[in-house]
Symmetry: C2
Subunit: 463 residues, 2 copies
């Protein structure tokens, strides 16, 4: 880890309160703010109040725990850098559920320090990165009495639960949110702990397919061979959506895909990434996906389709001889720049109608959309982030495309018209959404310096 180029005062300050900072970070981790579970909604509010108190303490203003249709959004700002640019800092204080609990080595909300890692639910995703932003701003204010640019903090509590209230909140606060860019720290470094800037995120189209057969479950002896079985019909429909080699078979699906350029393919190919050791890490017998593309290309730059859930009929031990009355699937597509999730939903729905066998009816319902997102590498805000990373971590970042979706990213771009820089610090193996999530304390500490440096760089390049 290389720490350099932040002012000596700043570095001394950060060195001096390292223990207190870690105590504060783990205190934040102890709040079980699981947004998807109603029984934790009090904890989500507690996490929001905790953040508000921290923001007040470090010197932010207009601190507000702002109501939404779901959990509150915490807003705060510091706007005294006249003439300097304004950045929105976005993060989320909510965390994923913890099941399967039995796979955790220690209780998920009792943080443990182990080999320079903090183990806890939310240690990486996304509480660490919120805390890093708080502490970067605190260190700058404490040592300089001011920030080099204007900051507006937006911390939401529903990122892991589809952010139902966020877009409306953004619309309602459009004036308050005027800025020059948004910075989201909710992404990852590359394998081998290489500093990375994510330049693209996939979008998402999420749907449910409900197949309706007889009015209730029927005896499979008396009716087998006579009436259409909704579960068989569902299997038929799903099998028509994607072939086993990973090619999506919905007509028109690939029409709007912006192909990777040769330059991008070369850049991806040059990343230090070994598919075979990656496969072993994942514990799967083989990769599977679109022929002609590398794993990194398939993950970040190619669209795909996955069944996320299936249910029908009897799921217990032993045997029950029924033709289920209903069969259901959750299906989602990850989309790449050029693709419109609303159009993809329409194509899916039309295709399902053409392949539905006789004897059942099918409904296809939308459960949500997220637009894909792409940031230019040569944007000044991206290049400023690159300089900050190189100055603090000691090497220039790689530019990566992530397979996941951060819908807020498209919301900032489309609703507020802002460029978005994805500056994340967690390692890709950190177990976000899985048991034993962890954060590397080296990345946490150095990342605070990166953020502080980034504000200086932005003030210079956009100022």
């Amino acid at each position: 880890m290389t720490v350099s180029s932040t002012s000596t005062d700043l570095e001394s300050y950060l060195q001096s309160n390292r223990e207190e900072r870690l105590a504060s970070y783990t205190e934040f981790l102890r709040i079980p703010s699981i947004s998807a579970l109603p029984q934790h909604s009090g904890d989500c509010r507690r996490a929001a109040e905790w953040l508000a108190a921290e923001l007040r303490r470090l010197g932010a203003e207009h601190v507000e725990v702002s109501e939404t249709e779901a959990h509150p959004i915490v807003y705060a700002d510091w706007l005294h850098a006249e003439g300097a640019p304004t950045a929105i800092v976005y993060g989320h204080y909510d965390v994923q559920p913890v099941d399967p609990l039995e796979l955790w080595e220690s209780p998920p909300f009792e943080p443990v320090l182990k080999a320079d890692r903090v183990l806890a639910r939310g240690a990486a995703d996304d509480k660490a990165q919120i805390h890093m932003h708080l502490r970067a701003a605190e260190a700058l204010l404490a040592t300089r009495g001011r920030l080099p640019l204007n900051l507006k903090f937006v911390f939401e509590g529903d990122e892991e639960a589809s952010s139902p209230g966020l877009d409306q909140w953004l619309e309602d606060h459009r004036d308050q949110l005027q800025a020059d860019l948004a910075v989201i720290s909710d992404t990852e470094f590359f394998y081998g702990n290489l500093p990375a800037i994510t330049i693209a995120l996939r979008g998402i189209m999420y749907a449910e397919i409900d197949v309706v057969g007889p009015p209730f479950d029927m005896h499979s002896g008396g009716y087998g061979g006579v009436i259409q079985n909704p579960a068989n019909a569902l299997a038929w429909i799903l099998s028509s959506l994607k072939s086993p080699d990973g090619i999506v078979r919905i007509p028109g699906f690939y029409d709007d895909v912006v192909p990777l350029t040769d330059l991008e393919r070369e850049a991806l190919a040059e990343l230090p990434f070994d598919e075979e050791s990656y496969r072993q890490t994942l514990g799967v017998p083989a990769f599977a996906g679109e022929p002609g593309y590398s794993v990194l290309e398939r993950r970040g730059a190619r669209p795909t389709l996955d069944v996320n859930g299936l249910w029908s009929g009897f799921q217990g031990e032993g045997s029950k001889t029924i033709i289920p009355g209903r069969a259901h699937a959750k299906v989602s597509c990850r989309l790449v720049p050029g693709q419109d999730p609303r159009r993809i939903f329409d194509l899916l729905k039309a295709h399902v109608a053409t392949v539905t066998p006789p004897g059942v009816t099918v409904e296809v319902r939308s459960l949500g959309n997220g637009d894909p997102s792409l940031t230019a590498i040569d944007h000044p805000a991206t290049q400023a982030a690159a300089r900050a990373l190189e100055a603090t971590f000691g090497r220039a970042p790689v530019y990566i495309r992530e397979g996941g979706s951060i819908p807020i990213c498209a919301s900032f771009e489309n609703l507020l018209g802002l460029p978005v820089v994805l500056l994340g610090f967690v390692q890709p193996e950190c177990g976000a959404h899985a048991p034993n999530e962890w954060m590397d304390l080296g990345n946490y500490e150095t990342g605070i310096r990166t953020i502080a440096r980034y504000w200086d760089e932005l003030a210079t390049s956009l100022g």
Copy 2:
């Protein structure tokens, strides 16, 4: 309803205790002997004890509540008709679960009399028919002091739960169970309340397919397009088993099917059966199944394959973006004479191996087999039953093939070497396994006369 030809004494006796008989039948129905639910195992034992007491009361001997690995089997006999044939009478005192409870018009274990029907779980399947056998024997013994043939009663308590202990019990009691035939009253009349003798039952092969992918659920953003999705793979596998028009695609599946003869097809075509009104009754938009065969042929004389249950990944409200680690299906085939369920399982397993896509592993596990069964129309025991039905119900029975399976049927045939006569009295619309199950009291009363008459006919024709 025509009642005739039983002796005047018998008829007077049955007329005189009709009220008491109905009270006893409904008392039996009040015992919630649901074999599939462990919390009702005490009720199953109570039903067995109730039957044993009734058998003792009517004059049966060697009454025994006999332990098995599951619920007890009730055995009793009356063996004083020297030189006359011996029949085993089989029935089951256990009943199906009652869910969905909210669809019942009255509580399932509080029998209600309504328009000459008894409504209750088990009213038809199979408690009515056990009770009819008890009361036919009682009436004969009460009025004549003897039966015209020897009877051995075998009433089990696990028919609705795959009869785990039955075959072993039959093996263990092989000597005690020597007989000339078995009579099973657990089948139906034909539509329009036409007396019917079931001459064929389909067999069954039941299996579970478990598709194994990554060690746990993975984020569909980070891994979609890279690793094989077990739920998509399962859909692919299931879609390869049967085409939407109902043709099973497992190689070799139809090899051993004994085709219907032209005579049988003509007899089935002559049954008073309207496919369109049947479709409306079932509430499905269209029938679906093998082209070139009628509904009755497909149901009784053609094999088929059904998915009985499906589960994988996320089944809740809303969206969860995972690639499930596992996907599962329950799959069963109904088989016709000539097909061996063990061979069909092997064919299924081999086929699944050939269509499993890369990146997942699949296990196919057997959950049970039942052989198909066929009784000759011209067997003397079948013809005796036909005469008894015609004498009591006033018209000759039709001969039908049932789509369901009664594994005990094959057990009697194969383990004990006995011909089996399927003499059932419930109506096909009776709602066995469904809410608001009912028994027609006319069929119940006349059927008691039929059974008594059948023993006389058998004594004459086999004696």
